[in-house]
Every structure is written in structure tokens, then in C-alpha cells.
């Protein structure tokens, strides 16, 4: 048993640490050193406020009771997060542009800045979330009591302690937690009014708490896995007999409706819960943080879910059946005597609970003060008078009182109920309540047709049905009220029974509630929207919301035609925001739009009025800001034509952006082509340089020997005749080589330019080939190469220049002979008739030489090729231009020369020629 004094000390230290952390973060942010708080990691961790004590204790309880179903609570948000670029990002973009302060503000701003809608949403949120706050207080109190009792009893009692009546107020842990949280939120959540509702201290604190609860839950899970069992496999194998463990391995019959409904609900909750909207949208400092959160937050939830399973299994199999599953996180380590681990679990639960209470109460306090209290204050004459006193302090006070009110409400709820209703079900009823915002929210940012009346109708109907189908039965379940109503239906009409509307009995109550509230809500929203018209302001706002990604919001300010004096505007801003911020706002506007002379007041054009309104909205909400401004603004009218022009502009913008996209694609393609061309040019340039240096080198070698020998001949008179003759022979040989090289280069260039006289006649190609073979036979015999052909007695009539064709074959044969290093060198010719559709015959020259290296195969027909520069080529006295010239010739003859194949076993060149249909004159097939 843990000494309760120790528990209290540790908990107080933890909460004290939280205050210090928030204080330091605030100070750093004020000094502009917010790099740590303003990071995607902290943003992601702040989203993890989603995992409250409902997750920390309740998920384990849910896993033990309902098996795998608990996963849906984390799968829904995962879907929303990984689809961030569609929904969440749009919400963030709109909110930062419109300076949205809460989800109520968001919905109201979309539907014409309606005061009624913002108040309605606030009330729904308040009723939906208060039980949730109560739940957190209850979780802390229950876990504290569980720690204080002996392990075995804790398992049995825990929760039930509460149902037997609460301790005295000051002895109640829940009370102290509520007081602490109220102080925290008042200090760090309401430092000043507005400034975009960013609370760096709070965000830092809840990010820290997210780490604490994950580590704490992880520690218990690892203890359960490796302290109590030997890893996952061992746990599964040892505990397979247990009914509850079976539920974690497969679905029970008829799980589908609840599975789908819970996935939907949790996906809705991650956006619609006021605290989630607060951290995900309002506190977001940079859209890019969403990109990181899109995978990191699902990972966080995956780890949490993974940790839940071993704790649930250990609890079910090792603790008595009477133990409360909602407290397994504490009782599993307690039962095995690990009290310090239990204390860690308690701190984790405390952090989960406090982070939720902090953010939820900030979000709700903003909503209550902006949407419930301020509109009422604005009706008071003294408050509303344009020249009244400074009210920024009053508004701040309202905000603080709201926080106290919310926590009081939550605390009262917890004190009064104390039912043994499991944690998960209270949380789920809350989820359904806030899910009522979904149709108006989603419709508001994707459907231009949604009207204020439609949204109101949907919200009212959904809320009423929620109260009737879920909230009322939860009271009846707890046994306080409405028992008759739930049992028999109002006036004993069975078709109106809250849990079986229209006779839909036998459904799971939650699925039943979700089905009715969401379908009726959505249906009414759509139908009523279609039946009503939007006011001009609504049209304007809907255009701004739906095209949030496309529009330059500043261009819209001219749509609202209104005028005011600058003095009035300044006075109003000072009253609401205080002199310092008012001054900053006007100075900022001047700097951006104002006259060159800074002494002049900004002109009160519609742009300035819209600017002021946005800043006021950032503090008191869109609806209240509009009401406030209407007191100093005269002649407000919405220029309908301007709105229509705005909508046209949207179409224009879409078209324009499509055009731009096409253009940019074209440009991209062109750029790609240019890049290719450039690469090729660079390559060619390099080849040309290579060629020139090669040619110079080739010319230089014979020139050098000619010069040196002629020098000797000139300077030395006493040379013997033999020697003179030999020297002259070398000079002659080198000159010939020089001439041949120049001839071939010249010929190549003539061929390329087409300056060659071609003597085309109709001839048989076979005798030409044989002539060439005869011409080369001498060289072949010298080298010991066996020369043969498989042409037989065929004839191949073609239209060519016979001498040129012969030149090609001589070149191919001489190459084959010169480069053949085989011990039994061989060259043979074959002829291949045209294949499918191609009417070119191919005469192939095969050899069994070493083959051409694969790297060079692509370049042998290029005159700047590397092959040309190889030592082997030069050693054989060739110029290396033979193949290039041959290819050029074949092209001119209307055929082609290709390398068919080349490997270690030899190469095969093919000469392609178009055969004439009738036999050439004078050539008869024998």
C-alpha cells in the first residue's frame, strides 16, 4: 500500500513542474525564442491531448470488455490525419485567414457570422464536454483511491468507492485537481485577449504531458510483457484459455455496426471536439506542421494501442474477475507489488487527465466568453456605447470566470453522478454530441449551397436527437431520472422509445443514436439549405471558405462597402483589445498599406475596416466582432455585383490556374528537350575535339618520320646507297599513309556532303561480293584465314554503284582478316532473304575473331568514335575510318550496314540491300 502522503507529494511536484514548464515556455515565446514550442514535434504531441485518461485507463477497460473494438477510437483519427492535405489543412488555412478562435466561431463565420449558430454550437459543446471533464476528475480521484488501498482490494473496490458517496469536499482529490487546473488555465490560458489565441505555455505543457503518458503506459506494458510474461508470444500462448483474451484475437458476432460507427465517430471527434479543434487548428502556427503530424500522430496512437493490449490481458488473467478493468493500469503493477510502477502509472493518468482538462477548458472558455457572454454584454447599453470605457479587462475577466464555471460544472457533474458507468461509454456519448458539428463543418468548406438556416436546422435536430437517444438514456441507466420514458417511451408509445426510435429495436444504443442523429442532421442540413437562400454575407463567406486555397483574401475587402471614421475604429479597437495591441494593429496596417507619411492616420477605407474586423474577430469571435463594428460603421451594404464578380473571379482563377498548369507542363517538356539537346551537343563537341587531336596526331607521326629521314638525307653526304634507298622507301611509305588518311577524310566529307558521282546500274550483287572476296584472298592466305561463302548459285539483282559496293565488302573482309586473332581464323558469308515486311536482303559477313567490346559497339560507325582511336586499329596501319565510310556508302546506295551481333565467338556485319523485283539485265539465274 502506498502512503497517500507520498502520492500527494509526487502529484503536487508533477503539477508544480508543469507550472514551471509553462512559465518558462511563455517567457521564451515572449522573447521570441519559440523555436522549441513552434516545432512540428510539439504540434504533434499537443494533438495527443486526444488521448485522455479515457484512453489511459478506459482503453484498457474497453479492450478487456469489448476486445479489439477499442482500436477504432484511434483508427478513425489515423484516417483523418493521413488525409490531412484535404480536410485538416483547409480548416487550418481558413482559420488562420479568418482568425478563427474556436469551432463555434468557425461554423458561425461560415454561415454569415451568425450569433445564433455560435451560441448553439457553444451550448452543444458545453453539454457534450462537461461530462468528459467530469470523467477526467473522476479518473484522477479513482486512481488516487486505488493507490491508497491494498492491491487486492483496489482491484475489487476502486471505482465503487465513489458510488458509495464522496469524501468530504476538501478530502476529494478531484476537487484539488479541478482547483489546480483552473489556476493553471487562468494563468497560462488567458494571459491576454486574442493574439490569435496562441498559448505557447499551454502547448508546451500538454506536449510534455503527452510524452509522460506515453512513457508511463509503455512502462506498464513492458512490465506486463516481460515482467509478468515472456514476450507477446508467450503471453498469447499462456492466456489463450481466457474468454476476454479471445476477444482480443478475433471479432465477436455482429461487431460490424459498432466497428463502423466508432470509426466514424472517432474520425469526427478528432476535428469536432473543441479541444482538438483548439490544438489542431487554432493553435497551429504553421501548416507544414500538419505534414509531420500526419504520420507521427498516428504512430503515437499506434504505440498507445499496442501498449494497451498486454496490460488488458495481464489484468484479465492475473487479477480476480471482480477487478475493475478501468483500473488495470494501476492494479496490474500493484497486485504484483510494484508500487513505484503503480505510482508511475498514476502520474501518467494524471498527465492524461490534466492535459485534457486544460485544453478543453481553454477551448470552452473561449467559446463561452465569445459566443455566449459577449453577445449579451453587447446588448447592454453602457457596454455597447462606442465611446464607452475600456472593456478589454472585462472581457478577460469573463474568460477567467468562464474557466471557473466550466470546471465547477465538471466538478459538480462528477460529484453528483459518481455512477459506475464505465469510462468509455461516457466518452463515446460525448463524441456523438460533438459529431453533430460535422455536417455543417464539412458542408461549409466543400459545398457552396449550405445556408445558415440549413446549418441551424441540422444542428438543432441533431442536438435534440442526441439528448433524446443518448443523453437521456444515460441518465436512466444511472438510475436518476427518465426511467419510465426509456422503458416504455413517452405516453407509452413504443415507436418513440429513446433507444428504439421508429421501432428500430435490438440495436446497440450507440449505433442507434449515431444513426438517427447523423442522418437527420445531415438530411435537414441539405434539404433546408436547398430550400432557403443565402444572405449576401453568407455568400461572401462561403466563397471565402470554399476557395480558401485559391484566393488572395486581401482582394476581398472591397466587397463590403461601408465607411467609418478612423478615430471611431481606433477607439473601438482600444476598448476591446487594450491600447497597446490597438496601437500595434494600426501601425502594422499603416506599414503595409498606409500613406508614405507615417504621421497621417490610415484612411478608413473598406480595407482598413475589414482589417480591424479580422483582428477583433481574433479576440472575440467573428459574430461579436461584426456586431461591434456595426456600431461605428455606417452605410454597410454588400455590393452584390462585387460578390458575383468575386464568384466569377473564382471561375476565372480556376481556368487560369488550369491554363498555367498546362503551360508549365509544356515548359517542363521543352526544358527537358533542351537539356537533351545540350547534352548531345556537349558530347559532339567533345568528340570533335577528340577527332581533331587524333587527326593531328595521326598526321604528325608520318610527318615526323618523313622530316627526320629527309633531314638525314639532306645533311649527311656520306650515306651508302642502300641506306639512302631504305630511307627514301620509308619516306615514300609514310607519305602514302599520309595521303591515304587525307584521302579517306576527304572522301568521308564528300560522302557526307553528297559530292560524289554515283554510277548506279542494275547488277547482280553476288558476283560483286565474289570479286571482293577474290581481291582479298591474297591477304587472307598471308594471314592464314579461311575465306568461304554460302551464296551458292543464287543471284541478287540490285540497283547500286558496283564499285562502291565492292569497296564496302573489301573493307568488311579486310577488317575481318586483320583483326582476327583466332588460332583457326575463318570468315564466311551468308545471305538472308527479307523477313516479315522488310524487303531488304541481308548479306552477312561472319568472322570468328575476338568480337567488339560491348562499350564500343554503339560507336564503331561514328567517325569520332573511341574504336577509331584504339591501338589495334593503328597497329594494323588502318585509318579507322573504313566502317564509317562503308556505312555512308551503303546509306547512299539505299541500303544499310549494321553490326548484327558481336561477342567472344566473333562478329557479324550485315549489308542490307533492296532487291529488284525483276532480274537485272544480263544477269540470269543459272
Amino acid at each position: 500500500m502506498l502512503n497517500s502522503g507520498l502520492v500527494v507529494t509526487v502529484a503536487s511536484l508533477y503539477l508544480g513542474g508543469l507550472f514551471v514548464l509553462a512559465y518558462v515556455s511563455n517567457r521564451r515565446a515572449e522573447r521570441g525564442q519559440s523555436s522549441l514550442v513552434n516545432s512540428p514535434m510539439v504540434y504533434t504531441l499537443s494533438l495527443a491531448v486526444y488521448c485522455t485518461s479515457w484512453t489511459f485507463y478506459g482503453a484498457v477497460g474497453s479492450a478487456a470488455r469489448n476486445g479489439l473494438e477499442f482500436l477504432t477510437i484511434y483508427l478513425g483519427p489515423t484516417i483523418v490525419l493521413i488525409g490531412w492535405s484535404f480536410l485538416l489543412r483547409k480548416l487550418v488555412r481558413i482559420s488562420s485567414e479568418q482568425r478563427i478562435t474556436s469551432i463555434a466561431d468557425f461554423i458561425s463565420a461560415r454561415y454569415g457570422k451568425s450569433t445564433f449558430i455560435s451560441a448553439l454550437v457553444t451550448i452543444i459543446a458545453l453539454i457534450g464536454v462537461t461530462p468528459y471533464i467530469a470523467l477526467q476528475l473522476k479518473a484522477v480521484a479513482a486512481s488516487f483511491d486505488a493507490l491508497g488501498t491494498t492491491a487486492g482490494n483496489a482491484a475489487a473496490e476502486g471505482w465503487e468507492v465513489l458510488s458509495q458517496g464522496h469524501p468530504h469536499l476538501f478530502a476529494d482529490t478531484g476537487f484539488w485537481v479541478a482547483v489546480c487546473m483552473a489556476a493553471f488555465v487562468i494563468i497560462f490560458g488567458t494571459r491576454n485577449l486574442g493574439a490569435d489565441e496562441h498559448h505557447p505555455g499551454v502547448v508546451a505543457a500538454i506536449a510534455f504531458e503527452s510524452i509522460v503518458k506515453l512513457l508511463s503506459l509503455g512502462a506498464i506494458a513492458i512490465f506486463a510483457l516481460y515482467g509478468l510474461h515472456d514476450g507477446f508470444q508467450d503471453m498469447v500462448a499462456k492466456t489463450d484459455w481466457h474468454e476476454g483474451v479471445r476477444r482480443l484475437q478475433g471479432f465477436s458476432d455482429g461487431f460490424e455496426p459498432r466497428w463502423v460507427a466508432l470509426t466514424f465517430l472517432s474520425a469526427a471527434a478528432i476535428i469536432c471536439l473543441p479541444r482538438q479543434f483548439q490544438v489542431a487548428v487554432v493553435e497551429n502556427a504553421d501548416e507544414k506542421h500538419l505534414a509531420t503530424a500526419s504520420w507521427l500522430f498516428p504512430l503515437y496512437m499506434l504505440l498507445v494501442s499496442l501498449a494497451v493490449i498486454p496490460i488488458a490481458i495481464s489484468g484479465m488473467t492475473l487479477l480476480p474477475a471482480t477487478a475493475n478493468p478501468d483500473l488495470y493500469v494501476l492494479t496490474v503493477p500493484l497486485a504484483s507489488g510494484h508500487e513505484s510502477l503503480a505510482l508511475l502509472a498514476f502520474i501518467g493518468g494524471l498527465s492524461a487527465a490534466t492535459s485534457m482538462v486544460i485544453v478543453a477548458s481553454i477551448a470552452l472558455a473561449i467559446m463561452i466568453s465569445n459566443h455566449l457572454v459577449t453577445p449579451i454584454l453587447l446588448r447592454l447599453h453602457s457596454f455597447a456605447a462606442p465611446d464607452g470605457r475600456d472593456v478589454s479587462a472585462t472581457l478577460l475577466l469573463v474568460r477567467r470566470l468562464s474557466i471557473v464555471a466550466i470546471l465547477t460544472l465538471g466538478f459538480l457533474y462528477y460529484r453528483l453522478t459518481g455512477s459506475s458507468s464505465p469510462l468509455a461509454s461516457i466518452g463515446l456519448i460525448s463524441f456523438v454530441g460533438v459529431a453533430q458539428f460535422l455536417p455543417a463543418l464539412i458542408g461549409g468548406i466543400y459545398w457552396e449551397g449550405g445556408t445558415r438556416t440549413g446549418a441551424t436546422a441540422g444542428l438543432v435536430a441533431g442536438f435534440a436527437l442526441w439528448i433524446y437517444t443518448l443523453f437521456v438514456p444515460s441518465f436512466a441507466d444511472a438510475g436518476w431520472a427518465f426511467m419510465d420514458l426509456v422503458e416504455t417511451g413517452p405516453w407509452a408509445i413504443a415507436a418513440l422509445k429513446p433507444d428504439a426510435l421508429m421501432g428500430l429495436s435490438g440495436w446497440d444504443p450507440l449505433v442507434h443514436g449515431v444513426f438517427w442523429t447523423i442522418t437527420i442532421n445531415t438530411g435537414l442540413y441539405i434539404v433546408v439549405s436547398l430550400a432557403t437562400r443565402q444572405a449576401p454575407l453568407e455568400r461572401l463567406q462561403s466563397a471565402l471558405f470554399i476557395d480558401a486555397f485559391r484566393r488572395d483574401q486581401q482582394s476581398v475587402s472591397g466587397v463590403l462597402e461601408r465607411s467609418a471614421t478612423t478615430a471611431d475604429l481606433i477607439r473601438l479597437t482600444r476598448r476591446i483589445l487594450g491600447p497597446t495591441r490597438a496601437h500595434a494593429i494600426f501601425r502594422d496596417y499603416e506599414r503595409r498599406h498606409g500613406p508614405a507619411n507615417p504621421d497621417l492616420m490610415p484612411v478608413p477605407d473598406p480595407g482598413l475596416i475589414a482589417y480591424v474586423e479580422r483582428h477583433l474577430a481574433g479576440s472575440v469571435g467573428a459574430a461579436a466582432a461584426r456586431t461591434l463594428l456595426s456600431q461605428v460603421v455606417t452605410g454597410e451594404s454588400i455590393d452584390l455585383e462585387a460578390v458575383i464578380a468575386l464568384l466569377d473571379e473564382t471561375q476565372e482563377a480556376i481556368r487560369y490556374s488550369q491554363e498555367l498548369e498546362e503551360k508549365s507542363q509544356e515548359l517542363e517538356e521543352t526544358a527537358l528537350k533542351l537539356r537533351h539537346a545540350n547534352e548531345q551537343l556537349t558530347k559532339l563537341d567533345k568528340m570533335k575535339d577528340d577527332f581533331l587531336s587524333r587527326v593531328s596526331h595521326e598526321l604528325r607521326t608520318p610527318m615526323t618520320s618523313i622530316r627526320s629521314f629527309s633531314d638525314i638525307l639532306v645533311t649527311q653526304d656520306d650515306l651508302e646507297t642502300d641506306q639512302t634507298r631504305r630511307f627514301l622507301g620509308i619516306i615514300q611509305h609514310e607519305s602514302e599513309r599520309l595521303t591515304r588518311l587525307l584521302d579517306e577524310i576527304l572522301e568521308l566529307s564528300r560522302l557526307e556532303d553528297g559530292h560524289v558521282d554515283w554510277q548506279f546500274t542494275d547488277v547482280d550483287a553476288v558476283p560483286i561480293v565474289r570479286d571482293a572476296m577474290e581481291a582479298m584472298r591474297g591477304l587472307a592466305q598471308d594471314k592464314g584465314v579461311v575465306l568461304s561463302d554460302a551464296l551458292g548459285d543464287m543471284s541478287l539483282p540490285v540497283h547500286v554503284d558496283p564499285d562502291r559496293l565492292k569497296q564496302v565488302f573489301i573493307n568488311l573482309l579486310s577488317n575481318g582478316i586483320k583483326f582476327n586473332t583466332n588460332t583457326a581464323p575463318e570468315i564466311w558469308l551468308t545471305c538472308v532473304p527479307p523477313v516479315n515486311g522488310d524487303d531488304a536482303w541481308a548479306i552477312q559477313v561472319h568472322d570468328n575473331g575476338p568480337g567488339i567490346p560491348p562499350d564500343d559497339q554503339g560507336q564503331i560507325f561514328s567517325k569520332f568514335s573511341r574504336g577509331w582511336t584504339q591501338e589495334a586499329v593503328r597497329a594494323t596501319d588502318g585509318t579507322g575510318l573504313g566502317l564509317v565510310i562503308s556505312k555512308q556508302i551503303m546509306r547512299q546506295l539505299g541500303g544499310n550496314l549494321v553490326l548484327e551481333s558481336s561477342d567472344d565467338n566473333g562478329s557479324c556485319f550485315a549489308v542490307h540491300l533492296d532487291a529488284l523485283s525483276q532480274p537485272a539485265p544480263g544477269v540470269q539465274a543459272s
Binding site: 479489439l68 482500436l71 483508427l75 489515423t78 484516417i79 483523418v80 490525419l81 493521413i82 488525409g83 490531412w84 492535405s85 484535404f86 507477446f232 508470444q233 498469447v236 500462448a237 482480443l248 484475437q249 478475433g250 471479432f251 460490424e256 466497428w259 463502423v260 470509426t263 507544414k288 505534414a291 509531420t292 500526419s294 504520420w295 498516428p298 504512430l299 499506434l302 494501442s305 499496442l306 493490449i309 486555397f549 490556374s657 498548369e661 508549365s664
Partner: protein
């Protein structure tokens, strides 16, 4: 905020595909009393899909950010060119 169509489509496909795999009837296919490496098939399947989606989301979010950065650069260049 300009993405390749393919990236945009993938960004939509990822949540929808993940949702489909985690809802009945697909998920029921894996509801079998079988062990995979000593662990029950169904939870293994759910966590595997989940982890896969997380990994893809990470890849995709980086792609989205880098493409947007590129298109912003293009815009800036276009502005300069005017």
C-alpha cells in the same frame, strides 16, 4: 499549393484505401483463429495495415512538401521574370 495530379490522387487514395482495408468486409477476411509467428492473425493484420499507412503517409507528406516548395520556387521565378 500546387501538386502533381498523381501526388494529389495518392493523397486521396491513401486514407480511402486504408479505411477500406480496416472496415468490414475486408477486415472480416482476417478474422480467423490462426496464429502468425505465435500472434493472432487479426490484430497482426490491423497493426500491419496501420503501420503501412503511417509509413506511406510519411513518404507522401514529404513528397507533398517538396513539390510545393518546388512550385513556390517556380512562382517566385515567374514573378521575377515579369
Amino acid at each position: 499549393m500546387k501538386l502533381n495530379r498523381r501526388t494529389r490522387d495518392m493523397a486521396l487514395l491513401l486514407p480511402l484505401g486504408t479505411l477500406l482495408l480496416l472496415l468490414p468486409p475486408y477486415i472480416e477476411i482476417f478474422d480467423q483463429p490462426r496464429l502468425v509467428a505465435g500472434l493472432p492473425l487479426l490484430p497482426v493484420y490491423i497493426f500491419a495495415v496501420w503501420l503501412g499507412a503511417i509509413i506511406l503517409a510519411r513518404v507522401l507528406s514529404r513528397k507533398i512538401l517538396s513539390e510545393e516548395k518546388a512550385s513556390e520556387t517556380v512562382d517566385v521565378l515567374a514573378e521575377d521574370g515579369k
